[in-house]
Symmetry: D2
Subunit: 453 residues, 4 copies
Amino acid sequence: MVSHPIVELTSEASWNLIQDKFSDYGKETLAKLIAFLHDEVLPAQRLAHIQIPSDPVQRWKTIVPVIEELKVKARKLGLWNLFLSKLHYPEHGVPLTNLEYAVMAEMLGRGGHMASEAVNCSAPDTGNMEVLARYGSPEQQKKWLVPLLNGQIRSAFAMTERFVSSADARNIKTSIKREGDEIVINGHKWWISGAGDPRTKLHLVLGKSDPENSNSYLQQSVVIVPADAPGVKVVRPMEVFGYDDAPEGHCEIIYDNVRVPLSNLVLGWGKGFEIIQGRLGPGRIHHCMRSIGAASMALDLMIQRITDPSRKTFGKYLYEHGTVIADIAHSRAEIESSRLLVLSAALQIDKYKAKGALKEIGIAKFVIPSMALRVIDRAMQAYGAEGLSQDQPLASMFANLRTLRIADGPDAVHIQQVGQRELKRGPALAKRAAEIKKKELAVMEKAGVKSHF
Amino acid sequence: MVSHPIVELTSEASWNLIQDKFSDYGKETLAKLIAFLHDEVLPAQRLAHIQIPSDPVQRWKTIVPVIEELKVKARKLGLWNLFLSKLHYPEHGVPLTNLEYAVMAEMLGRGGHMASEAVNCSAPDTGNMEVLARYGSPEQQKKWLVPLLNGQIRSAFAMTERFVSSADARNIKTSIKREGDEIVINGHKWWISGAGDPRTKLHLVLGKSDPENSNSYLQQSVVIVPADAPGVKVVRPMEVFGYDDAPEGHCEIIYDNVRVPLSNLVLGWGKGFEIIQGRLGPGRIHHCMRSIGAASMALDLMIQRITDPSRKTFGKYLYEHGTVIADIAHSRAEIESSRLLVLSAALQIDKYKAKGALKEIGIAKFVIPSMALRVIDRAMQAYGAEGLSQDQPLASMFANLRTLRIADGPDAVHIQQVGQRELKRGPALAKRAAEIKKKELAVMEKAGVKSHF
Amino acid sequence: MVSHPIVELTSEASWNLIQDKFSDYGKETLAKLIAFLHDEVLPAQRLAHIQIPSDPVQRWKTIVPVIEELKVKARKLGLWNLFLSKLHYPEHGVPLTNLEYAVMAEMLGRGGHMASEAVNCSAPDTGNMEVLARYGSPEQQKKWLVPLLNGQIRSAFAMTERFVSSADARNIKTSIKREGDEIVINGHKWWISGAGDPRTKLHLVLGKSDPENSNSYLQQSVVIVPADAPGVKVVRPMEVFGYDDAPEGHCEIIYDNVRVPLSNLVLGWGKGFEIIQGRLGPGRIHHCMRSIGAASMALDLMIQRITDPSRKTFGKYLYEHGTVIADIAHSRAEIESSRLLVLSAALQIDKYKAKGALKEIGIAKFVIPSMALRVIDRAMQAYGAEGLSQDQPLASMFANLRTLRIADGPDAVHIQQVGQRELKRGPALAKRAAEIKKKELAVMEKAGVKSHF
Amino acid sequence: MVSHPIVELTSEASWNLIQDKFSDYGKETLAKLIAFLHDEVLPAQRLAHIQIPSDPVQRWKTIVPVIEELKVKARKLGLWNLFLSKLHYPEHGVPLTNLEYAVMAEMLGRGGHMASEAVNCSAPDTGNMEVLARYGSPEQQKKWLVPLLNGQIRSAFAMTERFVSSADARNIKTSIKREGDEIVINGHKWWISGAGDPRTKLHLVLGKSDPENSNSYLQQSVVIVPADAPGVKVVRPMEVFGYDDAPEGHCEIIYDNVRVPLSNLVLGWGKGFEIIQGRLGPGRIHHCMRSIGAASMALDLMIQRITDPSRKTFGKYLYEHGTVIADIAHSRAEIESSRLLVLSAALQIDKYKAKGALKEIGIAKFVIPSMALRVIDRAMQAYGAEGLSQDQPLASMFANLRTLRIADGPDAVHIQQVGQRELKRGPALAKRAAEIKKKELAVMEKAGVKSHF
């Protein structure tokens, strides 16, 4: 049997557990993606960084040439929109399951943000395409979804607000009001990823259209705002550990009396909460798999450093230090168990959609980013100061992953939700315990034994 | 589709990942085992404890009546020797894969040592049966293996020695010498599990038959020593956190000029290391799955306590305390990922035998016991002092699991071995990195960019 | 300058920080205590264990001869009632501060429960003597306190109740009612330490005398119940892990219509909560220091094992394994910082009584036991199975310390209280931040810079 | 008694432990420093950031005006060169002990790098001034030390090399050769802090002058290299995460045939190792105290956020979430114990110089940065994405502290050294144990008891 190239990059054990759930197309696409990653994406990374100017103004006006070239190549190879499963999006989707894409997402995570962008699978476009594919009107799909699917434009999702605890989406304050044939938007958002990109043509804006509705989950709506609409003011890029992530960026934006036609409302009035709920499920899993890919890449880098024969301190090669080896073993163990955890969540989504996999998604969401941060941190330590610098990808991986403990709900929210879900098992457990207790008394009585309980 | 009862006791996500690898027989047997656990084993646990007298002499002469009754019932139900897979033991085995038995071992772990014994799957008998089935002569099999398979007798494996770091088996000192038609054994062992049991009829004793052999892995042999042979002195039971685990016990034993016939040699002179290596693989996985079962049971107990409406402190029910809920969520996450990790190792064993799954077994061996100890510790804390006492199974679970961080090789040994195995990937990683670097230079050159590296 | 023997057993750095707060008497007493520990207590430990019979009845009727001998020696040396500081108990106390005794308590912790008992400083007698010295009537002091101070009798404190979350003392249900000249007690307690000891002559019982009082802190009273009063039924000893801690024990007790004279009421009706509050402060610090002593002893044992030249595995001495050395370094660091933390709390108590040191006591209470458990766990691991057994003191230390994460309030309670206390700093912090902000604006304005905030 | 303002910013308990070791001058200076921090430094921080241009060239040519103004004010207040203790530097030092300065360093840590610079106590100038004060010739002191002490110029210390594991200083390769009356330097350094600053006038360069010396600790020398000497090429700034820390920076530098006069040799040929050893001791403690100040500031920020009444999620204020409160309690506990640990190390240095406090310094070095990172990480999480951004100081604190787990020796080196030091206690422990064992046998014999050991 010829082994699949995925084995070398993940593990035979995890592949054995899932490979019979892959179609031939899935296996072939995965193999192609791996080759593309090593032949095209990774060799282009340094050039891409160089092609983004350090000038604080110019870097925001840049379309990185080498990434555009990669996109052309990827599309030719059929490596395109892999995230959009036909299972859930029969019209626009590709014939891949969530499980299959999950493994591909891990591969993309090895190549950083650029890899995902090269195959048109980068956030926030992915979630936005899902929204438009599922909820968009034909007109909206034609105008916005098609060019997104083609990788011709990019997009932003404007939810998080300054001065407000947006982890609870019901707190958002941006006002969305109908005035005649128009919708008027006023609000102050930040951390709007992609809003800095010159190719970004639309923002999906979440705001309150019905703030007095007694059901706090029906107060929100989503509207499409063209990026160049009058009143859209990109205030500044937010930085993450000193990185501005130009040209995409994570921007502070003020919507100052922005007016769009009524037809830019997505799905309907009061449907905002429903839309963001639908948007988040599989995306979280993809983020998690990318994180595992990043962690796995970091571990590979660590092993490379540790086994570099030119590195020797205090009379020992680095690979002779017991604690370093223990760090590697723990990292490997954490990566393997994390991968299986997320793959099992992906399979749940395939079977029951995101709604039927909330526990698994929740667990993955709070376990994986922290795991990946630990692994990357160990790798940084093995590299010394170089590990924290621009000469290795580790520090920027760390910064990026650190945001995942906050984005799409901070760890604490997911931990509480998973815990609450477990608590619901209480009554069934009590019932089972009572049944066993009853039988126990019968067994004791039959044996002529009394208990003082 | 009717759901399998395993789902309620493990999780739908893990079951979905593996159920298509279960035969119908496997599924049915698993369902029967679960019913047996709840209908028979768990209700008998308190009685079994009561049937072991507290008198320090009598407790070692006891054959617990209720366990013998359970064994009769289990055998009738076909729940017997489930650990011995036909895959590896065509003659004596049952038609179950390691993966299938792994799930059953988790169930057995929910019922403590007694559950395993009830279905004739308890250590050290399991490993000893494997040894005799694989390496025993027809005569040895007839005399010792058959009654073991029938659950008529029990056995011990005498490896660990007092005054010696036995984690490295090459350190053992017990002498095994041929004298004419006899083998003479002299040595000082301890932690010999099962040696206290009145039903134990044989010890498999590892010792040095060829201490001068230049290959330190060929110095050892294994001989069968009848428990009642002259010179076998059970010195005392060792305690684990105050538990003596009577009647099996973990005993200190002196072999003082013990003589057995030549035919009691297992496999051949110098085969001792080969035998103990073969003995340990799948057994480690079974221990791990039982540990997961114990952890899972502990979490269930914790949830029961937390949702008990009669428990309220400082104006809040226990389930309203955020940190308790977080403990539960983390425990659930750790159990789920651990289960998947061990199941993937079990599948590797099915595919490549234990030898082909050393990495997976090693990872499981150092990850799972610590994980289970954490989960049980949280549950103990939720129960307060009661959690540490004889009124809950948690403290004895903890003590038992704590030994697993030492038995069959302490954590550190497995961590170092897994780490070393990872280091071997170094050259391949360096080669791949060099290839990417080469392409990177080509890409840079084509773009007309120079690097100062 | 001649160095004090404490330096070798703790550290020069911690001693330097506090030695000028020691009186000459304190220094001399400490030196005597250290000599007594090594010359008398530690050499007697094995004998003491042997003198407690394994027979399940006899072990509870035993007065351990060698401990009684030690008590005589200790008293002659002036090593007696060291816990009772003249600062707070001018009449009965010894001229030692809490800080001075704290260091001595660490030394006692190196010798296990027996060391504390030998110098009449063992719980629960210590807390009970404090209660009687502070709140007892002259008659109560004559009858109960004097023989306790003389080490002639022992005592119990009956607070924790079965079926009730006693971590919140307001939940207790035991009824204490006046009937004429008598007080009638009915209740179901457990975990009553010392109640198994044949020398125990009195129980201080906390119960509800005024359950309808609108102030839930005034419902409780404490009464003295002679251990042999009719209706006092010791049901069974509770076990901690597998230890029963005979002869003291931690017993389940039913008070069934127990009648005592009115004069047995301590301090007054409704004063129960005040009494238990007063009882707990310094005692918690002493427990913490003893825990540090235990941890420190465990680390010494670990180092002894690791440097034992007869121990070698996989071609390396144990002390050559990097992870073991890292465990030792972390343990040392944790012990040193823990000691300083508790010493600073002891000094606070000397300055402001327990009430003025609640934050420091709370921190110590949730930090130290967990720290000590970690250190002991590492030592157990270094000893292999022997570390879990009766041949080393580590497992029983572990069991004992594990109760401290629950006794006198579980970790979570102390964590929440310390956290809440920190939250109270919120307004002052906000005020300071506002002042700085105001100055910042002035600075910016002066420099002609505008901010978009 | 009027309380000292330090109490509010640290804790009464730690202050009580050390205040009697403070002189009146020490107390007054500390109070002045606290006032200066709140009145001048913290209000100037935002302006300082704004005064550093974002232009990638200009930012390296900047002398931040507001910092220069602060320096003038500080010097007038007598808040100047506080790090240089008269105890060790009678000529140039200030009358403060290391313990006194340690507390001040914690205060400086609350104000970031700028606070230290404002009082002329910022690395690497501090260490360089120590070197020149201790080892410099009168001529060197006049030319370089005096303007450094006056804050007129800045300096760099060039030790770490690219392509070499510089954690072991014996690995460095830079060549330092005498040629006639000149010294010629060739080497490739990086991470040279301060080298970007336009005010930096000298580099202290460590290199190999005698690479063949059989004693690997005598191969190195240190020479003073003027920053503008021909052949000094600043290649680029290294980034830490995304920060370049302009204008100081951490630069890659090539010394290409740089020539300096013989008189620029510091202390003598082959004295390089001695110099760097002497340089590191107290400096490490100061870094640790600054780290504690940073952690303490982060905790204050966290509490401010948590108690901000405008923040509410899922129906609860942030301060009502149990896990957040637990995070705060743990952070407080870790800060308090860390402070005491470092203060005790500082006192050791006062008593026995750095050489006599190696264990304490080593422990602090590996404990404190990790502790501070944990505390800051929790604070970042409480702030959500804002916590990772330029709007809060937390992410840049984190990046800065992350380097401390590497700089001046990575954690692993210090952990191993502390562990090795502990192992040396082995023989003394074995001796003590043997003595106790001997007495134990005597006690047993006297009691007529035999042991089977």
